[in-house]
Amino acid sequence: MATPTIRVQQDAFDPGAEIAGLAAGRTDVGGIASFSGVCRADDGLRAMVLEHYPGMTERALGRIAAEACARWPLTGCTIIHRVGRLLPGDPIVLVVTASAHRMAALESCAFLIDWLKTRAPFWKHEELADGSTRWVEARAADEDAAARWAAA
């Protein structure tokens, strides 16, 4: 079973390098799926500060990545999540999954990002154009997206 790579970091990441990394030096990879999440300027958002619980957040991401590796025949899996102050247009999260066949790569990538968007241990503090700030609360639509992956 593939060993996932999990990184929680302030720095930007290079999606191309991460995608290439899952194919490097091997010939059993038939497809690589990726999802890049970008900070969106909803409601006059000026910046967003992402907070995490060091140690616990990485463990939680590692657990869900291991679950994806058990559920789909993946050859590689990388999750990179940024924390700290991000501006609209900044990349926030990257999920990359590789497999011999496309369906496993595409499905596991969607599974992981749906989980990350709802259950991942992060907290978001938004700075708005009028100078006010607010803590983001959990969203029902994202919960529905995550729920569709519940084991049958």
Binding site: G37, E51, Y53, T118, R119, A120, W123
Partner: protein, 74 residues
């Protein structure tokens, strides 16, 4: 015992972490919250009117205990 605070809990209390030594009769999360809430007005505000997961989970000296609001995902 090491206590960690995140998101608005941290903001209300004004601390990200603190080292505390609760009295012996503090043996679970509910007891710890009641004891912490008396430490400052910020602590009281952070813990007021909140529901907590596993209030009867045991706590002991040497534990790390983190308080945070429901996660909002990435």
């Amino acid at each position: 015992m090491q206590i960690l605070y995140f998101a608005w809990v941290r903001q209300k209390i004004g601390l990200a972490e603190e080292q505390v030594t609760p009295p012996e009769q503090v043996r679970d999360v509910a007891g710890l919250i009641a004891w912490l809430a008396a430490r400052s007005p910020g602590h009281a505000a952070a813990f007021a009117d909140q529901e907590f997961c596993a209030p009867d989970a045991p706590v002991a000296p040497g534990d790390e205990v983190a308080f945070f609001p429901p996660v909002t995902g990435g």
